[in-house]
Symmetry: C2
Subunit: 497 residues, 2 copies
């Protein structure tokens, strides 16, 4: 059944420099990846398109860039920082990680039915409550890991002294304590300097809400957008960059007057789906999946995922819906929590109505790495030309294509390389990322550019020397047309708008 699409994409990614395994020469680091020369351009183009469409092309959204390490109390307020000694459990069905002491309890051995929607394909499954006597709070499964001390967040320490030194100094004191006191004492040592790598960028927008309000001339409805890395100690799978411990988010928090939240939720739900289509994603492989009430985070009023049909292998063959972005109505939960923990006023005073309110928040939260992977998978095509001639082509939208144009001299003599280099210089000068290649037969050069997803190949031949025209070969149709050199920049720029 499977036609190994994902394997071929992974192989292309390495061969052409889209994605490498991190620290590969050291044997690699599990679920960490590096973007190669083509991958970094693809991902940058996607992030830039997001910023341009979300921040620059609108007058109601401003940007923000917060440090990844934030004050640890931020995570107490947000609920991400379960205490050091919390027993956490992983659900083997839906991959949720939860606190055992907060899980719904049921008689061990009784039957439990997984909630529909706990799996992306919406299937119902049956299970048996395990010996722990509780089930997963999200999907109701009893197929759970052992309890263990665990934190979703990566902890490190900020300060002049390594906490290991302090533990070393305290070993005998610790040994003399009763188990519970020992735990507390150790936690105390750790927590003195503990800081965390943020598990989401969103909290940066909430804690800066008042700063942005006071420094920028914004008022609800308005948004704060941020693009940056986040970290989660996730259970990772083998689907390349789909789920990684280090990942990049593109999040926007849109602050609205309570009562207007449902309208804005609907607005962003559609707008975000349409964004992927505007950059060339096949609409047939894209869907909006509304969360069921039981699936919602406790603070969320509504949530919908933009999902893409990835060519992942699974037990039923090829293809699996995976989340690209979640659009959530987070209500006034976050601002109220931070107001409560800091004692600061995080409300907004509307001068027109003399009304004071804590804004509701609509959050479209996208993953930049997942978007990059989706655009890669969506662009991947094998086209049978004639006989046994199959070409591999990445059909990227020109706006996100890593290289916009390749420039070839037909042969390495007769002044053609010089003319081609002149064209290169002109295009590079305009900030159009292009690539020069004079090695091998012209047909092979075209195919190499098909694999890189380059929309246009510009060839300088003997006619060029007379009439200053070149051949422009279009990637998808493989059609070639003649064009004056002077028309190249406007032609390419028109397609990049």
């Amino acid at each position: 059944m499977a036609n190994d699409t994902m394997k071929k994409i992974v192989s292309l990614c390495k061969r052409r420099g889209f994605v490498f395994q991190s620290s590969e020469i050291y044997g690699g680091l599990k679920a960490c990846y590096d973007y190669g020369p083509l991958g970094v351009e693809l991902k940058r183009n996607i992030k830039d398109a997001w910023w341009r469409d979300m921040v620059h092309r609108r007058d109601d959204i401003v940007g923000l860039d917060c440090s990844i390490i934030m004050h640890p109390d931020v995570w107490k307020a947000s609920g991400h920082l379960a205490g050091f000694c919390d027993p956490l459990v992983d659900c083997r069905n839906c991959k949720e990680r939860f606190r055992a002491d907060h899980a719904p309890r049921a008689e061990a051995g009784s039957e439990c039915i997984y909630r529909e929607g706990g799996r992306a394909d919406g299937k119902k499954l049956k299970g048996i409550v395990g010996p722990q006597g509780y089930t997963c709070p999200v999907c109701g499964s009893g197929d759970l890991s052992d309890e263990r001390l665990f934190n979703l967040m990566f902890r490190t320490s900020l300060g002049p002294v390594d906490p290991m030194q302090q533990i070393l100094n305290s070993v005998e004191e610790l040994a003399a304590l009763a188990p519970d006191e020992r735990k507390q004492k150790l936690a105390g040592i750790i927590n003195e300097s503990a800081v965390y790598l943020r598990p989401e960028t969103a909290q940066g927008m909430f804690v800066n809400f008042a700063n942005v309000l006071n420094s920028s001339r914004v008022k609800p409805p308005f948004g704060i957008a941020q693009c940056g890395k986040s970290y989660r100690n996730e259970i990772t799978t083998s689907n390349l960059t789909f789920r990684t411990c280090e990942f990049e988010q593109m999040e926007m928090e849109f602050f609205v007057k309570p009562g207007e939240d449902e309208t804005w939720y609907e607005y962003w739900r559609s707008a975000r789906r349409d964004w992927y289509i505007s950059l060339g994603i096949n609409p047939d492989r894209l869907r909006l999946r509304d969360h069921e009430t039981s699936e919602l985070a406790h603070y969320a009023k509504a949530c919908s995922d933009v999902e893409y049909f990835f060519p992942f292998e699974n037990e039923e063959g090829e293809g699996e819906w995976g989340e690209l972005e979640g659009i959530a109505n987070r209500t006034d939960y976050d601002l109220k929590k931070h107001a409560e923990f800091t004692g600061k006023d995080l409300s907004y005073f509307e001068t027109e109505t003399k009304e004071r309110y804590v804004p509701y928040v609509i959050e479209p939260a996208a993953g930049a790495d997942r978007a990059t992977l989706a655009f890669l998978c969506d662009a991947y095509d094998e086209e049978t030309l004639e006989k046994d001639d199959i070409r591999t082509v990445l059909r990227f939208h020109p706006r996100i294509a890593p290289i916009k144009a390749a420039v070839f001299p037909l042969v390495k003599r007769d002044g053609m390389p010089e003319v081609a280099e002149g064209i290169m210089k002109e295009l590079l000068g305009e900030g159009i990322n292009c690539f020069y290649d004079q090695a091998g037969a012209i047909g092979r050069r075209y195919r190499r550019m098909d694999e890189a997803g380059t929309p246009w190949c510009i060839t300088v031949d003997s006619d060029t020397l007379n009439d200053k025209t070149v051949t422009v070969r279009e990637r998808d149709s493989m059609e070639q047309k003649r064009m004056p050199i002077a028309a190249l920049v406007p032609f390419i720029k028109e397609h990049l708008k």
Copy 2:
């Protein structure tokens, strides 16, 4: 003496949304900062200018984007990972952190003279070798901190189990051990899952050297560029974002044939200095400072710093040279070290000469946050107009200005807002970041934009309604000229090239 320039800049940064203290509502986090709506645009523009000038406008440099968490053995090879139990010492003179057991030894109480250049101002200082009996290996100072377990790098742990759980399980076993064995046992527990936040992006380029060589059609001389966050457990000062534990780098490793390294070192040394000037930095506040031989890292053949004269306060008044970027000839040290640690071949075979060699590396390594701070300080001006009228203006180069243009209706009626909104829409559609303001007297609106560093203010007045022209007020000269609406986009784009 001091005229409080830095204090005024810090205050402007918060007031107008360039830089906020991280997690400010939680009391802030030492030496961590967030970029507000204006700051994020400024920093993005600087990073984008770097990428465009280093990667897109050249055909000999490709990009890369590596994960921040890399395989821990990378840091063993690079020399960043001093063993867990190494006693580290901080030099209070030059801020170097070094291993006590590697420091040059001298008789306690003897006089030591700090090397010239150990301070940015090149002063000679005398000191006394402290009771430890060794001096700073970089500047020779005897003014040192106590020894302590310390690592420059932030350590965290990757894996399903928190190492604290394992320590807790081993407390009694640890207590029974002799001090040295105890240290080793504890280090063993920690190291099992320890990973580090990279202290520099450079190693990502070295470990991916072969991947880039095999996937991209590059050959020496060529460069690999990367922009991203790095982390160092630094001794931080109070000069805003000048020295922070979390910082963003813009690094490029340029691989050349041995023997051509000195020429390329000179090339990049000048090119990088000129880059800051091309973006508007005052050349009088910029200098290249060549490192003396004794100041060089052990692997470096030559190094030069691009320094900016910051308006920092110090004991002698205002102003201090601070490093923006270091250009180093790293020789073949890094590639050889990684080849040695991994057993992989990191050499290059030159087909023309049938010669195999390990390339030398010229590295221009810039700090994005420092560059942002330098551009902010350099742009800051207080201009006395007449009487007691002083205007604060940020004279950014248009290419890095956060907002390119502001659009004002002269009054909030007579159809002017509608025309102004139409202009906004057109500019935003072209990806020109602009700002709409209809509040307050026109003079005050101009001044607000001066403080944001916006190069042009476009005003719609009653004439606009008749002849479709607007007033364009230039930030630096404050001159106003009349221009057709249709000429605005080409006018602005011309200045952004």
